[in-house]
């Protein structure tokens, strides 16, 4: 009995959300009176023993170049093998695109109940109950997992990373890697941008910005704050911005520490994807815009006048600190 955490990497780098998953796994293990281990697939350049600082006692590795191409069917099979040999009975993922393809497959293989989109540690006083986000962030459901093996996929930015001093033991796992039956013909990685789902700060623009030529305001503010950029649905629909930036009920649901909405009305479908943000700032010229009801801070004003002043003021703050 132990907890196994899937450590996700892209281009050899461990993702921030995987450290959240490691912390979640370690704390779940201590609730269960056991310890947590990690599994990482593919080659990485990271010092894996440092995962001990996030509470993992061991890290199982399968270093094979073939695994740098993602195939959920292959990944699920390998994680299953490691799980069986390590004796783990609870698996933790960070709920990203890869996890959404692997975790359900493992759920079937292991007959393990899956909660995807968890936002809090399991509660063990009455069974095994995990709180997850539902209705695109408009509510939570407390889900009881009724199987002996369990899988939890934690929403990014929902659980704080906690660190301790520790060194994880690295355990290379040798097995034959099944060949993928999916042929990947092209890959386009978006480089140099903060991934939206993991970003601490998100600056987002709506139709109020009038046209793609005005997006300099959003991108400049975002780069000053090391933030990711997002947009409302109509903005992506009319191709002012790429569709992966679309947040809301039918786009990505995000939960950054700070969400700055510029020229977005705050329709219910938009709010559904952003209302789990810890602090919401709204800049809109209409005092009646529904977004102000969901905001923590707001400015009723013209974005074209207000945002450049905010940018200047942040620059001043940065140069004086």
């Amino acid at each position: 009995m132990s907890v196994l955490v899937f450590i996700d990497q892209t281009e050899g780098k461990i993702k921030k959300s995987s450290y959240e998953a490691a912390s979640y796994g370690a704390q779940t293990a201590s609730l269960l009176g056991t310890h947590a281990e990690g599994i990482i697939l593919g080659k990485t350049e990271e010092n894996l023993s440092a995962l001990g600082n996030y509470g993992l006692k061991k890290v199982h590795t399968i270093e094979d170049n073939q695994l740098n191409k993602f195939d959920a069917q292959v990944y699920a099979k390998l994680i299953h093998e490691v799980l069986v040999s390590s004796g783990a009975d609870t698996i933790v993922f960070s709920n990203n695109i890869s996890a959404k393809a692997i975790a359900p497959r493992l759920s079937v293989k292991l007959k393990a109940g899956l909660v995807s989109g968890a936002v809090a540690l399991p509660v063990l006083s009455n069974g095994f109950i995990v709180k997850k986000s539902v209705f695109s962030g408009k509510a939570f459901a407390n889900i009881s997992i009724n199987t002996s093996k369990k899988i939890i996929s934690v929403n990014p930015n929902s659980f704080n990373i906690s660190t301790i001093e520790g060194t994880a033991e690295i355990i290379p796992f040798s097995t034959s890697i099944p060949t993928s039956i999916i042929e990947t013909t092209t890959v386009n990685k978006i480089t140099g941008e903060v991934p939206l789902g993991e970003a601490d700060i998100v600056v987002s623009g709506g139709r109020g910005l009038k046209g793609p030529e005005n997006w300099g305001l959003v991108t400049e503010l975002a780069s000053l704050l090391n933030a990711a950029t997002a947009c409302s649905r109509p903005v992506a629909d009319i191709h002012w911005r790429p569709h992966h930036e679309h947040v809301g009920q039918t786009g990505l649901a995000i939960a950054p520490n700070l969400y700055i909405a510029i020229g977005i009305s705050g329709a219910i479908q938009h709010l559904a994807g952003v209302n789990r943000s810890k602090t919401i700032v709204v800049i809109n010229k209409d005092p009646e815009a529904p977004f102000f009801k969901a905001a923590d801070y707001g400015i009723v004003g013209d974005a074209f006048e207000v945002v450049p002043k905010i940018i200047d003021s942040i620059k001043k703050m940065k140069s004086s600190s």
């Binding site: 959920a72 069917q73 695109i97 890869s98 959404k100 393809a101 692997i102 975790a103 359900p104 497959r105 079937v108 293989k109 109940g113 899956l114 995807s116 069974g127 109950i129 997850k132 539902v134 209705f135 695109s136 408009k138 509510a139 459901a141 407390n142 889900i143 009881s144 199987t147 999916i182 990947t184 013909t185 092209t186 890959v187 386009n188 990685k189 978006i190 480089t191 991934p195 700060i201 569709h243 009920q249 039918t250 649901a253 700070l258 559904a272 789990r276 810890k278 602090t279 009801k293 969901a294 905001a295 923590d296 801070y297 707001g298 400015i299 013209d302 207000v306 002043k309 001043k316 703050m317």
Partner: protein, 247 residues
């Protein structure tokens, strides 16, 4: 080629989210039900487009749910599709649902199973991958484009930090999102035709349930917005830095 399109029923996006029976059930009072937008706008419409290009394609729709789901099944048939199957059960555990779809898929020998990338109520994103595992086929998730070329599927999908193009043989399961197709409105001919299209009701196959909803909660209400004058945006920067401590 036979395509099975999975259709799920969800509350309308503007529905008020409230709970009944000591917060153990979703309160359906006054709620308008719709086809889950990802199922309708992307997977169903893409399947219809494929059939428009190749009339030998057969499209079957599947819904797991009670008889009160029939209006949304008829609406889906009005958009397109040749016939529908409803598996009569109120259960909603993902594994249970996936088992029903996999059971029908095996019996019907489908080449392609399409789902939405998630439902907008439970946001589970798990049924498609479970069906693929039950059928031991590949699953391509978060697809933004889908084409058939010389008997293979050519699929563009979102991956962590980008997108890739995959070439894969049938049978397979694909979950669809924005980019796949454009939303359509059913026309009069479609609506009339849908009335007479076959809608078969079948009993569920035996399957386990792995999870159950214990209770629901609503998030705590916001304290209210603090407004800053547009004349002094530097005050907002100060508040974000000193009070909210987020920058």
């Amino acid at each position: 080629m036979k395509i099975l399109v999975c259709i799920s029923k969800t509350p309308d996006t503007t529905a008020k989210i409230a709970f009944a029976d000591n917060n153990t059930k979703f309160s359906a009072d006054g709620v308008q039900w719709i086809i889950n937008p990802y199922d309708e706008w992307y997977s169903l419409v893409r399947a219809i487009e494929l059939k428009e290009a190749d009339s030998s394609i057969n499209i079957h729709l599947i819904n797991i749910g009670g008889s009160d789901n029939e209006p949304i099944i008829r609406k889906a048939l009005a958009l397109g599709g040749d016939e529908a199957i409803r598996v009569d059960t109120d259960k909603n555990d993902s594994f249970y649902i996936a088992s029903q779809i996999a059971h029908i898929a095996k019996e019907g020998n489908y080449d392609l199973i399409l789902t939405g990338k998630e439902t907008i109520d439970y946001n589970g994103s798990s049924v498609g991958a479970m069906v693929a595992e039950l059928l031991d086929t590949p699953f391509i998730s978060h697809a933004t484009k889908f084409n058939i070329e010389s008997g293979n599927a050519i699929v563009v999908r979102e991956i962590e930090g980008g997108e890739e193009t995959n070439k894969v043989a049938f049978p397979l399961v694909v979950s669809c999102q924005k980019g796949m197709a454009e939303q359509r409105i059913p026309n009069m001919k479609g609506i009339m035709g849908a009335r007479t299209k076959p809608l078969k009701v079948v009993e569920p196959a035996a399957a386990e349930e792995f999870t159950a909803v214990a209770t629901f909660d609503l998030p705590p209400a916001k304290a209210g917005v603090k407004l800053v004058s547009p004349e002094t945006p530097e005050e907002l920067v100060r508040l974000l830095h000193e009070e909210a401590k987020v920058i």
